[in-house]
Amino acid sequence: MPKRYPQAVLVSCELPWDEHQRLMEDAFRAQVRTTLESFNHLYIFGTAGEGYAVTLSQFREVAEVFWEETDRPDVHPMVGVIAMSTAQVVERIAAAYQIGFRMFQITLPPWSALSDNETITFFKDVCGSFPDAQFLHYNTAHSKRVLLTEDYQRIEAVVPNLVATKFESASPGETRKLVTQTELQHFLGEGNFPWGCLHGECSLLAFTAPLSPARALAFFELGLTGRIAELFQLADEIDSVVEALYRPVADLPLVDGAYDKILARASGVEMPLRMLSPYEGCDIPTYEACVASLRKAHPEWLE
């Protein structure tokens, strides 16, 4: 089935905050540039990028810096918007649209689970407000409702510029249906990307890309070329790497972004572990225990 958006590896850029919770612009620019050395589809403001937490003025500040760094040929930047109503989402998209962005990653509002009608209303109202932009749906349980293939079939029939999803928690069976029964480009995680590749064109949301860009690209290439056995083998290795890295924080109730910052810092970029209030990041000794755990289990991933 032809897809509405190109197949790609998508990578998140996290936000470094100083002790006063202000953006560390130089560190952020350095991270974006490092990412661009290996990837050309990148985004800000998912859960990892604390998109839920920034004020509108912080949102604009970060988006402007991101635009300056990514407004280049063959680079495809995307801006995430996590907010609590259509109006809030549209306000933020409008701000990023004015800066120059045309690709957005949106989530359903989290205060109350949307009904079927409300879900359609949300996509029509948001995507319909920017007909020359394209939208990826960030499909997450944080929104209190996870959409499935049948939902997307209904939505894609009435929302032409919904072009993709980010759906790391889709089961193997759901992944098959998504890939074969919708026109959307599905960005799957390292865990379910191989399942999608069994059935057709899909894309990779590369959570571990900062740690080993070459392996992320190789992983994607295995999927593109249909080398399924090697693909699953590498998926298994990546799973083991993630388990080893996060073993010391496995019992800590951290929000997702805290884990992403551990991984970003372990990749060598200057990334403080602090999160915007009220969420907590991991402390440095615990972070060092994470790195030591990974080094012990998979030293080659830190070379």
């Binding site: 859960t47 604390e50 839920y52 937490a53 259509t86 989290p110 109202d125 009220p278």
Partner: protein
């Protein structure tokens, strides 16, 4: 135990929207004035008041009008804030503070469930930013975590201007502990207020205040006077009448709370449209009329 905030009946004012999702100012003002004929503790922007859905400019517009209507002797207005981080919450409180408000109702951010340390950080950071203001915690599952007595004991020890809670889902045992073991003023719902009042001073968050004002006032007074059997009977009457009213609107479709609250206000005689801010659906007029008919046929006396 001495409480940090006076005992009272607290009522919500809902926001009327026209077909373009613009505020219907005259209706909003009329609703506030109507509420003040019976009650003097009122608030905007809980879930019922769609506080989660507003952009900052719309928030300021409505808060400004609410201030104009409630800036009177013996009126105690409160502004609710529902948002996704400390920064976003503080930004809205600052806007309302500048307009003149000093009592705020805050919910915890819903995107990630807060740990013990994180909720302490949240209350310290938010309440500590406005030391001459007072705060009521809006305690509900939508935030991902419901706080209990032991949590509040920790928080009240560290946050002197957290003065109350709104906690309509507390069970009987939890009501007892909240009332007897904390300094906070707890605003219970009509159903759990009698349990709280058995053990000491507490308050009512009157979801049905607009529709059943005299019964609500009676319930509150009975609880304060220690006439508990009568209080339970009135609470039961309100519960049964409310269930009858809502039944036609509950068939199979999940709706956000505010959709029902707008029906309550409209049924009270206010010209309140039933529409909600996108993407949420309100109840349609036909269903609303069925709700009113059901209430009139079975509980007409409640409307006196």
């Amino acid at each position: 135990m001495t409480k940090r905030y006076p005992s009272s009946i607290l009522v919500s004012c809902e926001i009327p929207w026209d077909e373009n999702h613009e505020l219907i100012e005259d209706t909003f003002r009329a609703e506030i004035r109507d509420a003040m004929e019976t009650f003097n503790n009122l608030y905007i922007f809980g879930t019922a008041g769609e506080g989660y859905a507003l952009i900052l400019s719309r928030f300021k517009e409505i808060v400004g009008i609410f201030r104009e209507e409630t800036n009177k002797p013996d009126i105690n207005p409160m502004v609710g804030i529902i948002s996704m981080s400390t920064g976003l919450v503080v930004e809205k409180i600052a806007a309302a503070y500048d307009i003149g408000f000093r009592v705020f109702q805050i919910a915890m951010p819903p995107w990630g469930t807060l740990s013990d340390n994180e909720y302490m950080t949240y209350f310290k950071d938010v309440c500590g930013s406005f030391p001459d203001a007072k705060f009521v915690h809006y305690n509900l599952p939508r935030s991902g975590r419901v706080l209990l007595t032991e949590d509040y004991k920790r928080i009240e020890a560290a946050v002197p201007n957290l003065v109350g809670t709104k906690f309509t889902s507390a069970d009987a045992n939890e009501c007892r502990k909240l009332v007897t073991e904390t300094e906070l003023q707890h605003f219970f719902g009509e159903a759990n207020y009698p349990f709280g009042s058995l053990h000491g001073e507490c308050s009512i968050l009157a979801s049905w205040g607009a529709l059943f004002p005299s019964k609500t006032r009676e319930l509150f007074d009975l609880g304060k006077a220690g006439e508990f059997e009568k209080a339970y009977r009135i609470a039961l009457e309100i519960d049964e009448a409310g269930a009858t009213f809502l039944a036609p609107a509950l068939g199979g479709v999940e709706r956000i709370d505010g959709a029902f609250d707008k029906m309550i206000v409209r049924a009270s005689g206010i010209d309140m449209p039933l529409r909600m801010l996108s993407p949420y659906d309100g109840v349609d007029m036909k269903t609303f009329e069925a709700c009113v008919s059901a209430l009139k046929s079975k509980h007409a006396s409640m409307l006196n």
